[in-house]
């Protein structure tokens, strides 16, 4: 059968509208029902890949508030996290959205403190963020699969699918998730935008959806380390493949004593903490 160019375009156009184009292009499986296989996607050759991404937090490397602030700012700037403030400049806790922040030992590791431990450790701040669990309760409870596991261990979410039921927030034992209680693209009464210096390379969110740390999947895919890791003092936040015996994170976790938050819940958190701190690796 011969067809002229005009006919071909016509048929190709109609069939791709109807979805046939996809099944012709990939006769092996139907992308409409099965989605794309990773092998079918051209990955950026620079991309950082791992079997199991994980992080080690060593707070002893953070010498002052400035070191800490740099990390939080780097993350929140990169991801267009809105900054909600009260009239007096303090954080508006009611609307607050945060991906990485600090909690004292007794709050980050409740039940682990004892009354004789030094005030220094009890009050010692630790970075807290999504734990990218092996067995995440948030994924289990999500009624739309808007939050899901990636093969490299990252717990990811699709803010376009999220219906805002906030079940993941109830389920997360780490309080790692934030909800957009109002439009983050808006402005405060003084006309200042909640997202200052917007990063055009990363999407903003809409009201009514949940968000959290993504381990910077978007940066890993172009060969960059997570923004927080890059901004931290050397050795403060270490990021790598826990399944790789030669990775720095693996060596630390094997050779030193580290703890994880609420690991007794069976969630399998991927953030490891060095408490007290010492020189390593």
């Amino acid at each position: 059968m011969s067809m002229d160019r005009r006919q071909f375009i016509k048929i190709a156009g109609i069939s791709s509208i109807l979805g046939f184009g996809a099944s012709v292009a990939s006769a092996t499986h139907n992308v409409w029902t099965q989605g794309l296989d990773p092998s079918e996607v051209n990955r950026n050759p620079e991309a950082l890949v791992a079997k199991r991404w994980a992080m080690v937090v060593d707070m002893s490397k953070f010498k002052n508030d400035e070191d800490v602030k740099k990390v939080v700012t780097a993350c929140h700037q990169t991801h267009n996290v809105p900054d909600y403030r009260n009239a007096d400049g303090s954080v508006n806790r009611k609307d607050e959205i945060k991906w990485i922040w600090q909690a004292s030992y007794e709050h980050a590791f409740p039940g682990q403190e004892n009354k004789y431990m030094s005030e220094h450790i009890k009050e010692m701040p630790f970075f807290v963020l999504c734990n990218h669990c092996d067995n995440p309760p948030c994924v289990r409870v999500c009624p739309t699969k808007a939050t899901f596991k990636l093969p490299d261990g990252i717990t990811m979410q699709d803010e376009h699918r999220c219906i805002g039921c906030r079940f993941c927030m109830a389920a997360c034992p780490y309080g790692a998730r934030s909800f957009n209680w109002r439009d983050p693209r808006g402005t405060n009464p003084n006309g200042e935008p909640f997202i200052k210096n917007m990063n055009k390379a990363y999407p903003t969110r809409t009201k009514g959806v949940v968000e959290k740390c993504t381990f910077c999947t978007e940066r890993l895919s172009v060969g960059k380390l997570p923004a927080c890791v890059e901004a931290a003092p050397k050795g403060g936040l270490l990021f790598g493949d826990m399944e790789d015996q030669n990775s720095e994170v693996r060596k630390i976790v094997t050779n030193q004593y580290t703890i994880r938050r609420k690991s007794d819940l069976g969630t399998g958190p991927a953030i490891y903490y060095i408490v007290g701190g010492s020189d390593h690796a």
Binding site: R93, K94, D95, E96, I97, A103, E106, H107, A108, P110, G111, P137, R140, V141, C142, P143, T144, K145, A146, R161, C162, I163, G164, C165, R166, F167, M169, A170, A171, C172, P173, Y174, G175, R177, S178, F179, N180, W181, R182, D183, T206, K207, G208, V209, V210, K262, L265, G266, T267
Partner: protein, 390 residues
């Protein structure tokens, strides 16, 4: 039969108008919430569910409680309930309607709610809850409509409806079990992580729902010629007293485990609710009202002379209803979120818009209930004296 709802006294229409006005107020505030976002409520990152989800949970119980009439009537052929059973089924319908509306009101992105069906997720309890609630709504509409339609013609209901009636029994249990599973399987929320949660839910449902039904049946008797019968009221009263006993007993079991184990996480939410925690005691007065009302109403129901006096029975039922409404519609949800995963206390109190939206949804529920009851009452008044054959 719908035409029965369109003919009524001035009082009937005034009542419907009143409810419509309340729902309009609710709709106005919902529009505000829809535009601004859920930040218009008192909710925040630590207490992410509040009044809406509490009402939803409570009303699933009211819906499920119809089974307490269906079991005696259809399984045990208990003829005393012949007249009252339709009131139970129609109450269930309006309760499920309210449940669905409260869920919608709580959604951050209500326009995307079909995603639950586009991406069905069997591991998510919300998925199952959506399935069982909608199924229950359908079954009750079907059964209520078909049996009442037959009554109207003075004939026995068709045989094919029987399997649906029997199906409604386990289905009613399922809606409240799955609703309990929304909470009871979450790691790290000690207050909810309790195997007795579903049993507690069912016990409180089988007390609260029938208590409301007694109140409604007595109102119906007062405003119309339709009387479900003194004996039926008493029988429902006995069901309420047994169920309430089970509910209070189950709550006692929770207290025992929380405090005898000495595990702080298990006790903290109870302490927050009943004594206050770290200086926060907003909910303490409410919880004690609930406790006192529960105990007083239970005693009243268990003393035969009091229960047999309808004025006192209704008084006890009102107290019981308020008690359970506080306990399940408010305390149970907030208690689960306080303290937060960092063991910090951040409290919650509903805002005015939130309360107005809640009131609006209750008004819509009562509107549906009034219309359905109007139909049932008119049919029964017309066929008064004719034997009901089911």
């Amino acid at each position: 039969m719908l035409e029965k709802a369109l003919v009524g006294s001035k009082k009937y229409w005034a009542w419907l108008m009143f409810l419509a006005a309340l729902s309009t107020v609710g709709a106005y505030y919902y529009y505000q919430q829809f535009t601004y976002g859920l930040g218009l409520t008192g909710l925040h990152r630590d207490v992410t569910w509040g009044l809406y989800i509490g009402q939803f949970t409570f009303l699933v119980g009211v819906a499920a409680s119809a089974v307490m009439l269906v079991i005696p009537h259809y399984l045990h052929d208990y003829k005393t309930f012949t007249k009252v059973v339709i009131l139970g089924e129609f109450l269930a319908i309006s309760a499920v309607v309210m449940c669905i509306l409260f869920i919608m009101a709580d959604m951050g992105q209500p326009m995307r709610v079909v995603n639950i069906f586009l991406h069905p997720t069997p591991t998510a309890m919300v998925f199952w809850d959506t399935v069982v609630l909608n199924g229950y709504l359908f079954i009750n509409l079907l059964v209520g409509w078909v049996t009442l339609g037959s009554d109207r013609k003075g004939i026995a209901p068709p045989k094919w409806i029987k399997p649906w009636i029997y199906l409604s029994i386990p289905w009613a249990i399922s809606i409240h079990t799955v609703t309990a599973f929304l909470y009871a399987g979450i790691p790290g929320r000690h207050f909810w992580l309790s195997a007795i949660m579903a049993a507690r839910f069912l016990a409180s449902a089988f007390a609260g729902g029938p208590a409301l039904l007694i109140i409604l049946a007595l109102i119906v008797r007062k405003i119309s010629k339709f009387d479900v019968g003194k004996e039926a009221i008493q029988a429902v009263g006995r069901i309420v007293s047994y169920a309430m006993f089970a509910n209070v007993f189950f709550l006692g079991l929770e207290f025992f485990t929380a405090f005898y184990s000495g595990i702080p996480g298990h006790a903290q939410s109870f302490l927050y609710l009943y004594t206050g925690l770290e200086g926060h005691s907003e909910l303490v007065p409410l919880m004690w009202v609930s406790t006192v009302f529960a105990l007083v109403s239970l005693c009243m129901l268990w003393i035969p002379v009091i229960r047999k006096n309808e004025a006192l029975l209704v008084f006890a039922c009102i107290m019981l209803f308020i008690s359970l409404w506080i306990d399940k519609g408010f305390g149970l949800i907030i208690g689960g979120f306080v303290p937060n995963p960092f063991e910090e206390v951040h409290t919650y109190w509903p805002t005015m818009p939130e309360a107005m939206i809640t009131m609006g949804i209750w008004a819509i529920g009562f509107l549906v209930l009034s219309v359905l009851y109007k139909i049932a009452i008119t049919v029964r008044e017309e066929t008064a004296g004719v034997e009901i054959e089911h």
